[in-house]
Amino acid sequence: MQGWDRLQSIIKDSNSLECQCPLIVNNLSVKRSGELILKDINLSITQGEFVGIVGPNGSGKTTLVLTILGLLKPAAGDVKIYDQEPCSKQLHGRIAWVSQAAANLPNNVRITVRELVRLGTMKGFNLLLRNSKNAEQVNEAINLVGLQEYADTRISKLSGGQRQRAVIARAIASKAEFIVLDEPLVGIDRKSRNSLLKFLDELTHQTGTTILMVSHDIAAVRRSTHRMIYLDETIQFDGNTERFPDLDIIAELREIQPVHDSIWEAQKTTVSSDCQVCVEDE
């Protein structure tokens, strides 16, 4: 519990000094290879929110995240993180990214969970990463994600879910107030997925960390986040998770034509709740 208190106090202190808005996006448009991927995106996220971005393949979810993080340049509009330009020095250590490839960490890198998490404490090019200063921070992060038993185990020996947790621990060790996760549910089993979503929810409630999670798994996002954004070139829906439309409305939005009209008509009346389960099982 000491770890939780410490993290809470650190985040409270930093919040009192800075703007409360982790992310503001104004009229953002992004082109990739000359093609317009995102158009007129307006978005603002407040501290402590757990936001899920969903959308079909090629809808621009990852493009949006990369632009937010400053890894892609917008064609128009701007992005502010804690009132700063993305990638500015002031943001080092305040924002962390858990990439899509997190569960596929290279096996040839023979590093342990502790060594991986310690890398999260780097800010800029600090040449001497003092172990004594960061050891407590690293242990706290490992305990938070429940990997204390595996702290000195090589990441190559962990399951997909455990690897994902290890990478999230790296983000937590950085003391980031805003964590962006890109497809964290890919490649992990059902049990790991559920415990990971529960953990992320607890993280936002107990430490006030803001989480922006991109996922193709609409059902999982709907059952875990506070707010959902449906993206398909532009923002088609942005609101509380409870208000997220059911799947036949999304199908209308995406202009998906029913293949078998008779079956479709028969199922239309009962589609709403069952489809969530279908999507989840996919």
């Binding site: 993080l69 400053g70 890894l71 990638c87 020095k89 080092h92 250590g93 924002i95 962390a96 990214w97 858990v98 990439s99 490839a101 997190a102 960490l105 290279p106 040839n108 890198v109 023979r110 590093i111 342990t112 502790r114 060594e115 991986l116 310690r118 890398l119 999260g120 780097m122 800010k123 800029g124 090019f125 040449l127 001497l128 990463l129 000195d152 090589r154 990478v167 790296r170 950085s174």
Partner: protein, 322 residues
């Protein structure tokens, strides 16, 4: 080009210790590596080069760049050939310039995704080696127009060229030692300082960039250090066998180490024992130093792999086997 005599200073500092342990060394010729200045120079250079190449090799393996050492060694040989012909500064300086240019270009081609890693290494290693060979051949043809063959060329130049190809511990001059000490010490310190940055950029470059780690700068500096270390190794183990010290001890260390830190420590252990055993065997059996060191590193790797396989079978028998 002359560096401050740091190699000779180090030799003066370490020589009394080496001389004091010389009587306890086994063999007939091996003890002279601890008592004769010429061979002390070779021993110090070999130990320094092994330490830095092992450390560098641990990162090369994690970055899937095991063969870049081989490629850069080819480039260095091209540089040496040009250096032998043009003269002026020593051939190792030409090799250093050639290797750094090639390493930077290979890094840029890889990071900008213009070519895959292997293709860019192949192009530069063969291209710059070919340049060296052509320049060497032109020089020899000019001197001996009727013969024009490397095999029939003046004995001096072929011996020197062979020394760089297969390594020759006995040909190490004080200037060579200065360069080797300078490259080894500088590279080791820089690699130690940026070890976390190197790991972070290897595992997830984009996440590292968001943390503020200068991914591009670290990549470029690592390429330059790799080039410099390869050049420092050429005279010890030979251009053809550079990979043996760069990769094999690190690969053996990875088999045994349970963490990255442990892997680095085991790499040093395997590397240093290989180089000492290799020098001992080559001295006593009168074989080439570089080739014997390379053979010992490979044998050590094989022993560990087989030992681990047997231990696994004995301690943890497969449940599916009858």
């Amino acid at each position: 080009m002359n560096l401050p005599p740091i190699g000779e200073m180090m030799l003066e500092f370490i020589a009394p210790f080496l001389e004091s342990i010389a009587p306890y060394m086994p063999g007939e010729i091996f003890p002279y590596f601890f008592s004769l200045t010429l061979l002390q120079r070779a021993l110090i250079a070999a130990i320094l080069v092994t330490m830095v190449s092992g450390f560098l090799g641990c990162f090369l393996l994690t970055r899937n760049l095991a063969l870049i050492g081989d490629g850069l060694a080819h480039v260095s040989f091209g540089g040496i050939a040009v250096g032998l012909v043009l003269g002026g500064i020593g051939p190792l300086w030409y090799a250093l310039i050639f290797c750094i240019i090639a390493a930077v270009f290979i890094h840029e081609l890889q990071s900008r995704e213009i070519l895959t890693g292997d293709a860019s290494i192949a192009i530069f290693s063969t291209g710059m080696l070919a340049l060296g060979l052509v320049v060497l051949r032109l020089e020899i043809s000019f001197e001996l127009p009727l013969i024009g063959l490397i095999e029939m060329s003046p004995v001096g130049i072929t011996n020197t060229v062979e020394g760089y190809l297969y390594g020759n511990l006995y040909l190490l001059s004080p200037d060579d030692l200065d360069l080797i000490v300078f490259i080894s010490v500088t590279s080791f310190v820089l690699l130690y300082l940026m070890r976390h940055g190197l790991l972070a950029t290897t595992i997830d470059p984009l996440a590292a960039k968001i943390q503020g780690v200068p991914v591009r700068g670290i990549g470029l500096l690592f390429s330059i250090l790799t080039a410099a270390v390869v050049v420092s190794m050429v005279k010890i183990i030979g251009a053809l066998l550079v990979t043996a010290l760069l990769v094999t001890p690190a690969a053996t260390g990875q088999l045994v180490g349970r963490s990255f830190r442990e892997s680095v420590i085991y790499t040093q252990l395997f590397g240093l024992s290989s180089v000492l055993l290799g020098i001992y065997l080559s001295a006593e059996l009168d074989t080439g130093g570089g080739s014997m060191i390379a053979l010992v590193t490979a044998c050590m790797f094989a022993v560990i792999v087989i030992g681990q396989a047997i231990t696994k079978l004995l301690i943890k028998p497969d449940e599916n086997l009858n």
